[in-house]
Amino acid sequence: MSRPKGEFPIMTMTTAIPAAAADGPPKRRRTPILQILFGDLLAAGLTVMTGALVLALLPALRWGVLDAVWSTADPGRCGAGGACWAFVAAKIRFILFGVYPADEQWRPLAVIGLVLAMVLVSLPPRHWGRRLLTAWGVAIGAMLALMWGGFAGLPFVSTANWGGLPVTLLLAILSLGMGFPIAVTLALGRRSKVPVPRFLSVLVIETIRGMPLVGLLFISSIMMPLLLPAGWSVDKLGRTLAALTIFAAAYLAEVIRGGLQGVPGGQMEAARALGIPVWKAVWHVVLPQAIQKVIPPLTNTAIVMVKNTSLVLIVGVFDMLSAARTAASDPVWPAPYSESYLFVGAVYFLICFAISLYARWLEGRVQDKDLR
């Protein structure tokens, strides 16, 4: 229909090119809203189904918003058919910080602030480098020191009393951060032409990937103390962290290996022909390209690992999810499990969605380099 209309201006354009060029490309006609919603059978069907879904969700809206109790000091007022958000408000310190001594809870709060600050500083790729890595090392040290205390008048707090969001964040950051270099080593080992490192890498990767994380956590928290020589002991949190780290490493290794395979052989050849030693060529030429190629699956693994930290509750580490569960079992309140889980779920969502958005932005930047 619109095609003949469009042809006439093109014909006149040949006679008046300068004027037409100033007009720019022809504007696209907007599709009317009714045509979008009910234009054909598929669109109409989807519109109806979406409408039905929205209607079905109305009771949830009623429960979560309209009938909800938002604030009360009296637990008895909850439980009348609406959500009890007042409970989350009352227990938020416990959910976020667990059984960390109440007077000292500014310390985990400071740790969360420190994590946020470090993450913000690390976002722009132009900040990446040795100095940022050092800064992270110092920051992690400071976080752990703050949590532990025992110096400068800060009372000592054992890891058994750590809990909530700081534990979740520390486990996620440390397992991914320490897992990454191990993953790179494993990935390079698996692609090596020398049999011994290749075999070892395959063995580690396949063994870890073949085990459920829950099993790995049990092994590290129950069996590792038995295997260690007498008198040795590793903190429970440390053992959990070890399990998460090696688990993350195995998965990251396979992602990175995929990236390595995507780097053309000519890159290494060019580096070698220029006389760059093999390891420097791997580090400066091959690896950066490999990692750029696998930003989406790396994001995927990072998000999965953030959520995997919640599994540590089965070996008795007090992360945010365990804290929320424990909070909800308080007999004073009418068992507000849904509210607790929804709140914790929302916090996880915020973290994971932020990672996802950041990765998407990063990917866009990489693509800008390739074509413009």
Binding site: G266, A270, A273, L274, G275, P277, A281, P288, R372
Partner: protein, 258 residues
């Protein structure tokens, strides 16, 4: 192309030739790609190697900087014998620049870094000095204004000129070109060839694998024709093009010139 910068005047002809290839054999599995290849290249000499695809010409020049390993015979570059010694291989590679058919620039680095980083990694040159030399050579291939861009934002011809600058940054005594214009659009071939001609005018020792016969006639001191892993004919350009001695050379020239 005129360039006032005689950056790489070759060392005065020493006793040993720039490149010595003697009775070199190479197999891929059971397939022999090079058989009894002999070629001696003096410092400052320009050699063009041509031949049908699969004739072993790329393999030959890739053996010179050990991207491929030869299995019999000997290869020496500037008097350094290519053995399994890693030190020798690195020494040879530092003195031999290579330009590839597909440029092989590092896509994650800016044009400037493509030229500066290899110097820093291979020779420990300080960044400042490496960047100065990089800019100098980018100016020489007339692409300095693109220094901040990335390879993906440049045309093929521009990328190949950057690749030449990158190789020159290592101050090689010998340059190898492996079909440098084969992957280019026709209108970009000229700019790359001009850069190579200017390099030749400055006295660089060059071995160029190419089908650009105009370039061969204009620049080459000797043209080598290879077929089935052997050097069939090796002669000065006038004799090679006007009076080739071997029937195989004649039919090859006939095919690509007509």
């Amino acid at each position: 192309m005129t360039s006032p910068m005689p950056v790489h005047s070759p060392a005065p002809a020493a006793a040993s030739p720039a490149i010595l290839i003697e009775a070199v054999d190479k197999w891929y599995g059971t397939f022999q790609v090079l058989s009894k290849v002999d070629l001696t290249v003096a410092a400052g000499e320009r050699i063009v190697v041509c031949g049908p695809s699969g004739s072993g010409k790329s393999t030959l020049i890739r053996c010179i900087n050990r991207l491929e390993e030869h299995q019999a015979g000997r290869i020496a570059v500037n008097g350094v014998e290519l053995t399994d010694s890693v030190r020798n291989i690195d020494a040879v590679r530092r003195g031999v620049g290579m330009v590839f058919q597909h440029f092989n620039l590092f896509p994650h680095l800016s044009i400037l870094d493509n030229c500066a980083l290899p110097q820093m990694l291979a020779r420990g040159t300080p960044r400042r000095e490496a960047e100065d030399r990089a800019m100098h050579l980018l100016r020489r291939v007339r692409i300095a204004e693109q220094a901040a861009k990335f390879p993906g934002q440049l045309s093929g011809g521009q990328q190949q000129r950057v690749a030449i600058a990158r190789a020159l940054c290592m101050e090689p005594q010998v340059m190898l070109f492996d079909e440098p214009t084969s992957a280019l659009d026709p209108e970009m071939v000229k700019e790359v060839l001009e850069t190579m001609v200017s390099l030749a005018e400055d006295g660089m020792t060059m071995i160029v694998v190419t089908h650009e016969m105009g370039f061969a006639r204009r620049v080459a001191d000797r043209v080598v024709f290879m077929d089935a892993g052997r050097i069939v004919e090796c002669a000065g350009p006038d004799e090679f093009f006007d009076a080739p001695r071997h029937e195989r050379t004649r039919s090859f020239l006939h095919q690509i010139l007509h």
